[in-house]
């Protein structure tokens, strides 16, 4: 997942900032804002080609990949505080590219008093999560085994011991027909906590489904979960190809 690219603000050029928020904090907040990158993946240059581009080059529009794709998308923020104070939201960010815009319109960025002004240009580019977490399209990516039940060895734990266990762990176990059974809706972490710490040494063992598992991906909104998975798979296959060619070179 850390290899799947997405757009995020890489640096900002501040013309004017009268607010109490420091430029650095503002830059960090802007970088954290998820930007829509579904179309941008094809239209912008790859992270590897843009990595070494300096801010001066980017501002002059010199950052272009070998096949003519631009590196940076520009977003402009220009707001003046109104009477009673103004909160600047991401909807005030004007993007030059309609495909690269904030996913959420109502993210507060900073607050201004009357007469205070902020004017800045933010430069967003494609990047990968291993470089900085702001380029991580997936918030959660976990593989979970599927829980089938729990195995009790009668030799170690008789029915009295099982009843004790249910009393100690009412959120994970229940008694059914005089036997310890798994309660419905029990999560794996809850069960493992019970087995390893509370009912320790009582011969309990979880049963998992053998040839299937749950793979959970939660996206931050910039790419769909499906697209994230496809991009991550592409990155893995590219790595394998690179390894193959290297091995071939070494061998021959």
């Amino acid at each position: 997942m850390e290899e799947a690219p997405k757009m995020a603000v890489d640096f900002i050029g501040v013309d004017r900032n009268d607010s109490v928020m420091f430029n650095e904090i503002l830059a960090h907040r802007l970088a954290m804002v998820p930007l829509k990158s579904e179309e941008a993946l094809e239209r912008y240059a790859s992270p590897e080609e843009c990595k070494d581009c300096t801010p001066e080059e980017a501002a002059a529009g010199k950052c272009v990949s070998s096949d003519g794709k631009p590196c940076y998308a520009r977003l402009i923020l220009e707001v003046e505080g109104k009477k009673g104070g103004t909160i600047v939201y991401t909807k005030d960010l004007v993007s030059e590219d309609p495909d690269v815009k904030p996913v959420y319109d109502n993210i507060p960025l900073l607050s201004l008093l009357e007469g205070q002004k902020v004017k800045l240009t933010a430069y967003a580019r494609l990047g990968r999560g291993k470089e900085h977490a702001k380029w991580m399209p997936a918030v959660v990516a976990v593989v979970k085994p599927i829980l089938r039940g729990v195995e009790v060895s009668e030799a170690v734990c008789d029915s009295k011991c099982q009843e004790e266990c249910v009393e100690l762990c009412p959120h994970a176990f229940e008694m059914k027909d005089g036997k310890l059974k798994l309660k419905e809706g029990t999560t794996i972490s809850m069960l493992m906590h019970c087995i390893e710490y509370i009912c320790e040494g009582r011969g309990l063992k979880p049963i998992f489904e053998e040839d299937s598992f749950i793979f959970e991906v939660e996206s931050d909104g910039s790419l769909s979960a499906r697209r994230t998975l496809i991009e991550a798979a592409k990155a893995v296959s590219q790595k394998i190809e690179a390894l193959k060619t290297q091995l071939r070179e070494q061998a021959g």
Partner: protein, 69 residues
């Protein structure tokens, strides 16, 4: 300062829910129910939402650039 854009631990964007959360909690709703309604399941996100305090309104008084009220 202002509350964080994302959850510190997992990185889920949270701040878009903050105004609704604040409004509903201030009107007397139980924070637990509001967090459930907003779909914040993980305890890292719930803690970030509950524990963040927006102090930008207090800090802004000490703004050095323009003093107009």
């Amino acid at each position: 300062m202002m509350i964080p854009v994302r959850c510190y631990t997992c990185g889920k964007p949270l701040i878009q829910y903050y105004e609704e959360f604040k409004k509903r909690v201030e009107s007397g709703e139980d924070p637990e129910k509001v967090l459930d309604d907003l779909g914040l399941k993980r305890y890292c996100c719930r803690r970030t939402m509950l524990a963040s305090i927006d102090v930008s309104k207090e800090i802004i008084k000490f703004s050095t650039r323009v003093h107009r009220w």
